[in-house]
């Protein structure tokens, strides 16, 4: 039972983190190479 709770919580946290990352990227590429505001999700300098 405890194992299910721990693994379930970890999986939910990972999925939530992944969803947050996708939303933050706003459809950008997140390639990390350019930093162009329009194209890349990385924060500008």
């Amino acid at each position: 039972m405890m194992g299910n709770v721990i693994v379930g919580a970890i999986v939910i946290a990972m999925i939530a983190f992944a969803v947050r990352g996708v939303i933050k990227s706003k459809g950008g590429c997140s390639c990390g190479t350019c930093g162009n505001r329009e194209c890349c999700a990385r924060k500008k300098g």
Binding site: V7, M14, F17, C29, G32, N36, E38, C40
Partner: protein, 727 residues
Amino acid sequence: MSIRIALAGNPNTGKTTLFNALTGSSQHVGNWPGVTVEKKDGHLIGDRDVIVEDLPGIYSLAPYTMEEVVSRHYLIGEAPDVILNIIDATNLERNLYLTTQLLELGIPVVLALNMTDVIERSGDRLDEAMLAQKFGCRAVRISALTGSGIEEAARVSKEAASEPALVRAVTFSDRVEAAIAEIAKIIAPHVDARLLRWHSIKSFERDAEARKLIALTEDEADRVEAIIASCERDMDDDAEEIIASERYDAVEPIARGCLVPARAGTASLSDKVDSIVTHRIFALPIFALVMFFVYFLAMQTIGTWGTDWVNDVLFGEIVPETVGSWMESAQVSPLLSGLVMDGIIAGVGAVIGFLPQMLVLFFCLALLEDCGYMARIAFVLDRVFRKFGLSGKSFIPILIGTGCGVPGIMGSRTIASDADRRLTIMTTTFMPCSAKLPVIALIAASFFGDHGWWVGPSSYLLGIASIIVCCVMLKKTRWFAGDPTPFVIELPQYHFPGMKGVFRTVAQQGMAFVKKAGTIILLASVLIWALQGFNWKLEEVDAEDSMLADIGRAVAPIFAPLGWSEEPDGSEKSENGWRATVASISGLIAKENVVSTLGVLYGVEETDDEDESASLVASAMGLALPALAGISFLIFNLLCAPCFAAMGAMRREMMDTKLWLGAIAFQCAYAYVVALMVYQFGRAAAFGTFTGGTIAAATAAAAMIYMIFIKRPYEPDKKVYTTAEAR
């Protein structure tokens, strides 16, 4: 009160390197012109009141391409407090041409003489004090690469921000000065006093965009035109030519006086190397050899050792065994355990496994770029591209696109011709981006094992060949007709790569890859796992009876002619094709998903619980499809529509929804046709099998040959982007 410092200068003079050094940012730096196509800003290290703006490189304030428009629009419209003019000190004359124009903007200018380390090594003598005195502004020696002089440049810029600006850098000939003075009298009521001289000169040059900023009456416009026409008659030349040539006449003696070469007339080391690597005959074979060596390192030796360890040991033993045994001891439910093992670890692990190969590849490409070799390749390929209707200018976006298609597509802004720009946008993603590398590596490992060294380089050759073939065909349509735009590239001096910048690039790209695996790929893996584990009534079932299998089977017949529904022995088995179909569709979200989806699907099906690894996925896939079908699968995924992010970038840059949709449809159709031809002709050659698919492939081949050899039916499109359109 905040101070805004604008970094302006010619392309590839080190503006972004200086920007990174001043602000602590990590914007991408490339050793070729046109890397920066948008304005970027950051705060000066140690003084948050100072904002540094990095502008795209420009050769003059007469913009021709979209990124040049960005720079001019900012300098004229937003008027920064000071311009830090980055000058490539090894090429003083051409850089000072822009300086003369920046000094006319009524904004204080500081000259930052970059690449002085190269000057010192070559023994040349640079007199920055004389330069400062000639232009009436301050000059600082810097080396953005080594970091020397940049603090001084920042300090001087801050001081200059509060000083009055000079507005007359060049005094033209008496006749021209008289004309400019007359024009100034007419336009004075309509412009800001700060920009009166600049507007007067631009009006004299008949700069249409600058004239739009002044609301002259018809009578005033006629008087201005009469003044220009009179001067042109007297001087027997075009007004724009007169100004350009007098600027160079003014700059040339200054440059000659301030930079004294140690060995005038002798070829530098860069020139000697260039005589070999840009040789008419040897250049392309050398490039092919270099790229084969890079892929040998990344895909066959160093990179593969790392990938084998990650696949076989890390995600083959350590992670599954540790996590699996812990979940077993904690009595985690089989459903949850399946999600973690078969969904997350199998999917994400299959993609992460290729990280070592990618890091080696990124490192090698960063070295080639930073030392200056890649700029030579753009020059070399211009000769090849031009024969097929595309200029070497298109190679820069294509080269950037090997990292990621999105900045590659945006890099097409440097192309002035509308038709060429759109053509480049459409074809840039044919080159394999880093996200497609795992797909290439998976297919190479699945079907060719230790003999798959040729798959990687062949994928890039296929990309270049596809760009050429599509350009030849599309140039014959009315949307893309036109002669290639002229290509002028300044070849930077070779230098030893700055290892800090190279490692930063590799780290950024590697981190972005890992981040993507933890976000979009993880989500897609979970979704694929759920869809392949349940039926429409949400009952747990085998993959063959799942929702995903139903979806895949509905689409699979479309791809059956590509061989995706065949057994390795060549017999058709429709149940098998849905996996490859689903993987290709998931690749539209992000190309890495092709591998993670196969990781979930083949990992679950062909291996037992604890052995999911990319290498086992590869062997499972190799057992499920014939090699020819594997190649057609790779070709389709390399050439079809890119991921959603790249499709979005295509839409923004094409600025035409219909054309964009047409471009996506064309890419998918082209990918399908090429994969069809390779599979059907390959099968016919190997087994003598002729089917309806072979006839379809032959028809498609005939249509392509017709399009390639038909004479051009449309007149060239001469349209060039203007400031107003770019806005």
